[in-house]
Symmetry: C2
Subunit: 551 residues, 2 copies
């Protein structure tokens, strides 16, 4: 076997994009790029799967079948069940597959994994429906995030891994001159994989957040056990099924990549994570469990936990496009993105706009009006906000009303003509003062926006920096027309490893991290210890070992 | 400022060597390469330093002066004292220097550090005498290990860091087509250093083991505090002094790299290591303290601890060159190298040599005789074995006689005509059985050799693998003329991340790891969590942060 010319080209283009960091997409984000028939076929596949066993996996002899997914749009169970396996079975199969997979060349692994991505591409629309009806994302976001964007991130990790695996020669003749004679050694350099990797998924981005770690683990020769969130299995089950099909097509053990479904009342995550043969753990989710994962001895972990993302308003060329941009950023998928802004720091003295100053109260009102405008818009509202994935998020939003703070915008249901039963909620906007640290210092996951009144921009920066350092930040957004202020903000925030998005307006939002260009999470603050996809993200999954023998 | 053409060429050649992994040395290991006058000048400098304050550092206002180095050759104190600083002073100065150094470009940092290496080169002979009279290494080894070999390792880390820092563009224009229009962002990619790095040295290899971490930390924009072993300060003090001189020459704060000398009765290592502003720790030394370092929360650590290095004898073309090679490997610097073999696994059935089998007893005798031969040789003995650095090591060797095991070779002083007062000790060779795990499972630092009688080679491999997995291994050596056995050994040992040296005879020994070619420690087993120099070794010292703004 070998790496086919077509697949090699896909990887080489990805490596080039990673190095150049210009815009690149192997998988176009526009649904129309996939042909006229694709959407219909995807819907048909989705409808055919509802209420049935998911039989696409190549894992034999399940002990039972389980499933508890409920659509946030219809409020009805999907009725899909997935095969369940004992932890011991999963580990034994992963260990056995590892014995084979670790010996497979980087080229041959890459061939399988690029094939898998091409297979996954054919199921983007089914994945989109699966994501839509488990996460509550709008259909377009479901398509883009779980389809092309996720596959581009997977390819990015795969390509980075491929590059690193080929960084040193497989063998060299080493000759050291020693006067008249010389010493000659034959040397081999091998990238030895660590063992079994566990990939722990989340309920809101079941593929996007899981496939980078999964493909990084697999390309570097480890085997993988994918443990999805029990409420959001379907989309990643398709991904695992296609990886297994690609493995099988090349004659490899499909257990190189297994799906480990559990149920809310019998979670197996800790049992898997603590197993001594599990050497790598990729995790996306809440901070408490993430910190537990990071603390496990003898594991290499890659975490994305919660962050407190801040926006600083200092000065603007024109306030209107700014509040439009920001209101969209907080409304998109009802703030259920790890990249969504939460705390808006506005100076009590207002925000400069050219030669004038817009008073604090006006800035606040403009922002609140813009947020209310999106939620209340009959077409734009439901398409932007989608639905709320979990009842807990909805409760959190409503509990905000019980805080002793000023509520600027009450949360309410978002009318959705297509899905009248949808669990929806418009953003709640609260106003607090800089000293109300207890309110704004935690990630308040969901459509919750806090406007924090500060003394001035210097205080805004000081607090935002402290939040990033202490609680983590995945994104950070600032608006200033003053270059010195821009530099000051950038220096302060980068010192706590938070990336700065400056003056974003128009069709680009702070929530979005472009594959092949933007690092997602820096790994340097408490929001997570890993980054999609820097070299460390793949290097830590294997060990360079050099052998030598007398020639 | 910028990177000069000459220094850029030095870095580029090093990067090329790292990638090709063929033989390369920027600093020739032969003393004659440094000119006729260099040895005499080095000795003069050494003699002038004895009994005086070491005034070469650019660190102001010490609280006191201290020094406790004693030559293992003369048994007399060197009488050199070094400036002592409070931990708070060291941290404050390192923090202040960090504010400046982190903003310096990779090119400008590289310019300073290559300059420093060129300055250090001019002091190789003084460093050699300093090493000789603190570690007990022979003069030639002192010269090579602390001089050219250490500087090559420093350059390797520097070059690897330089390559990684330049891996992504500093800025790009990112343009995403959006139908008729497009979104354009200006992006910046910055490698943000972590903060203050602590480098904890050891008594036996004061520069070789410390400069890779030191140069890796500095090139990536962190500042460094070098905490040497109080019994082995002089050599690394020269290195730090020259780095400070190079910093000052370019107008930078010399406190970018500080020396933190302490004394045995008032160690400051833990105070430094636990300081919240210390983010990176490089450590070489015993396993207990190394595991403490690794366990510190919030630190990125790079450790080289102890390992149990094994030799497996299965079959040989000719036993004589094999035992010659091995006896030299255990005698070199009296087994005080972290790479020295300790446990020799020999099958009870003997070792094949061509069509015959050499009985176990004969193999054992050949090995013991060869070891005794080196120690007893009037010229070769002292030059190979050098002296014993620490009284503790000598006690350990002698305590071996109290074990209830067969002593094949008694330790005794090694006659040294030049230094009659030298603390010397020839290797003790013990014979144990495979089931005497309690005896051979620990690193017995110093000239201690264990011959372990096994059932067969399969058992030898099983035990050696288990030792590497449980207790770590930095080197591993095997002799077999059977290709299938060679492959089996390689597969088993690489699975626990131990590098295999096969059939070494002649002028190459398992103890030696060549810069630019051999990884020193893999980082994958308990012998240490880092490797000189893989990409991870530099990547973990900084964080990629990407900023973006609307163009």
């Amino acid at each position: 076997m070998a790496l086919s010319a077509a697949n090699k080209e896909i990887i080489e283009k990805a490596i080039k994009a990673i190095h150049e960091r210009v815009f690149y997409a192997q998988y176009p984000e526009h649904p129309k790029a996939y042909g006229e028939e694709a959407p219909g076929k995807g819907l048909e596949a989705y409808n055919n799967q509802l209420g049935k066993q998911f039989t696409g996996l190549l894992q034999q002899n399940p002990v039972e079948w389980t499933g508890e997914e409920v659509s946030p749009y219809t409020n009805k169970p999907l009725g899909i069940t997935y095969p369940v396996f004992d932890v011991d079975t999963l580990i034994v199969r992963a260990g056995r597959a590892f014995g084979e997979w670790k010996k497979v060349s980087a080229d041959d692994r890459a061939e399988v994994l690029v094939d898998a991505l091409e297979r996954i591409k054919n199921r983007f629309f089914e994945i989109a429906y699966a994501t839509h009806h488990t996460t509550g994302q709008s259909f377009v976001m479901s398509f883009q995030a779980s389809g092309p964007h996720a596959s581009d991130r997977a390819l990015e990790a795969l390509a980075m891994g491929y590059e690193e695996l080929n960084r040193f020669p497989a063998s060299v003749t080493w000759e050291k001159p020693m006067g008249k004679a010389s010493v000659v050694l034959q040397k081999q350099f091998k990238a030895i994989p660590k063992g079994i990797g566990l990939v722990i998924g989340c309920s809101t981005f079941p593929t996007w957040n899981s496939v980078p770690g999964l493909f990084a683990t697999l390309i570097t020769g480890n085997t993988a056990i994918v443990k999805p969130h029990p409420k959001s299995v379907y989309a990643i089950a398709i991904v695992v099924a296609e990886i297994q099909a690609a493995l099988k097509a090349k004659g490899y053990d499909p257990n190189v990549c297994q799906l480990a479904v559990d149920s809310s009342n019998k979670l197996i995550t800790k049992q898997l994570a603590e197993h001594p043969l599990v050497k790598l753990i990729d995790y996306t989710g809440g901070s408490a469990f993430g910190s537990y994962v990071e603390s496990l001895p003898g594991k290499v972990t890659f975490t994305e936990k919660a962050g407190v993302n801040s926006v600083i308003l200092d000065s603007v060329a024109d306030l209107k496009p700014v509040v439009q941009n920001l209101s969209f950023a907080v409304s998109l998928y009802s703030g259920q993105m790890c990249t969504a802004p939460q705390n808006f720091f506005i100076p009590a003295g207002g925000v400069k706009q050219g030669d004038t100053v817009i008073p604090y109260e006006e800035v606040k009102k403009a922002l609140v009006d813009a947020i209310a405008g999106i939620a209340g818009h009959p077409q734009m509202g439901p398409g932007t906000l989608g639905a709320i994935q979990s009842e807990i998020t909805l409760k959190r939003v409503n509990s905000m009303k019980e805080l002793d703070v000023n509520i600027l915008l009450e949360p309410k249901p978002v009318a959705n003509a297509e899905f009248p039963e949808a669990r929806t909620c418009s953003p709640v906007v609260l106003e607090v003062d800089a000293h109300d640290v207890g309110v704004y210092e935690n990630e308040l996951f969901g459509p919750i926006v806090l406007i924090v009144k500060t003394k001035d921009t210097a205080q805004s920066v000081e607090i935002a920096k402290h939040m990033a350092e202490k609680h983590g930040a995945i994104t950070f957004s600032a608006y200033t027309t003053d270059e010195a202020t821009a530099n000051m903000i950038t220096e302060e925030l980068e010192s706590v490893f938070a990336p700065v998005s400056l003056n974003l307006t128009g069709m680009i939002w702070v929530n979005q991290h472009a594959t092949f260009s933007d690092f997602h999470v820096t790994g340097g603050n408490p929001a997570g210890n890993a980054s999609f996809t820097n070299p460390e993200y793949v290097n830590k999954r294997f060990v360079w070992v050099g052998h030598r023998r007398v020639a």
